[in-house]
Amino acid sequence: MSKSHPRLLHHFDDPEQQLEASQSGMWLFLVTEIMFFGGMFIGYTVYREAYFEVFAHASNHLSVWLGGINTAVLICSSLSMAMAVHSAHQGQRRKIVFYLLLTMVLGTAFLGIKFTEYYHKYGENLIPGLDFAFKEGNAGQAAIFYSFYFGMTGLHALHMIIGLGLLSFLAVQAARGRFSPLYSTPVEMTGLYWHFVDIVWIFLFPLLYLVGRH
């Protein structure tokens, strides 16, 4: 890489330094995200210990099928995202666009399944605050489980929606040929974000759907 790189900003020495600054910034942001979600995970852990029985019963109202399929969908989208980053590094324009769009389709499928689940919970009166009804134990404790469920999956879904926005922006940029082996930083950074969101779900799925199943 040379000093005459078209994307090199004047306050960086060379493209490598510029890329390393972006990577450091992105990883630092992801650390703040770890703590952001971490607060909810510790809250969930404390309440699950306190209301163990009811949390298990409440958890069993979630569909393992839909949750499991959604996990698979998200893992597929992560592979697709990794391939988009890889294609960007290789400078294969059509492949970048294809994989970005595929990632978006899978991300949208995830959200579709997620909102189907939300709708089922609405029908079963399991949304706290909306005629919440629970017969297998203390309804107040079950409402806490469902508050965590909607809070954590809702925030995860919000991250997915933001990710889809970023991906649609990238897809347009990629189609216009903005990315090359010399410059693919936005694709790479969005990839890091997308994989992080996948990791959050990797922990949410067992903790919310599976732990009360046996």
């Binding site: 390393e20 990577q23 450091s24 990883w27 630092l28 992801l30 650390v31 770890i34 703590m35 971490g38 607060g39 510790i42 852990t45 404390v46 210990e49 306190a50 209301y51 393992v64 499991g68 996990t71 698979a72 893992i75 597929c76 992560s78 592979l79 995202m81 990794a82 391939m83 890889h86 290789q90 203390n138 107040g140 404790q141 806490i144 990839g191 890091l192 994989h195 992080f196 996948d198 990791i199 990797i202 922990f203 799925f205 067992p206 903790l207 759907y209 599976l210 732990v211 199943r213 046996h214």
Partner: protein
């Protein structure tokens, strides 16, 4: 690392993630006794997360600084969990100690199973 090897790694990680998802789901329906269902579920989740971080997020091929960020995040998370859970796990002991007669605010609500 050449392009084909990279793609092969991605696909292998992808297959491993799907297999681990199927495993954790199947095992969840078997009663393994007190802490083991949760331990195994979290253990598999940690393995899956590590695969994503190392291969999909390229941590394996990244500079040491990336590892510092990653380590700092995990360390903060461990501090958060250790100190919070140490508090909740030992709260009931406070009532029997020198402060007997002044039970901790959270302790009674937790043990009697009422809504706080």
């Amino acid at each position: 690392m050449n392009a084909e090897k990279m793609i092969r790694n991605y696909v292998m990680v992808f297959v491993a993630l799907l297999v681990l998802t199927a495993t954790t789901t199947a095992v969840a329906f078997v009663d393994l006794g007190a802490p083991w269902n949760t331990t195994l579920a979290l253990g598999i989740a940690v393995v899956k997360a590590s695969l994503v971080v190392l291969f999909f997020m390229h941590a394996l091929y990244s500079r040491p600084l990336t590892w510092v960020f990653l380590g700092a995040g995990i360390l903060c998370l461990i501090i958060l969990f250790t100190f919070t859970l140490a508090d909740y796990a030992t709260r009931d002991n406070v009532g029997a100690g020198p402060l007997a007669g002044a039970p901790a605010a959270g302790a009674s609500a937790r043990t009697s199973g009422t809504t706080p």
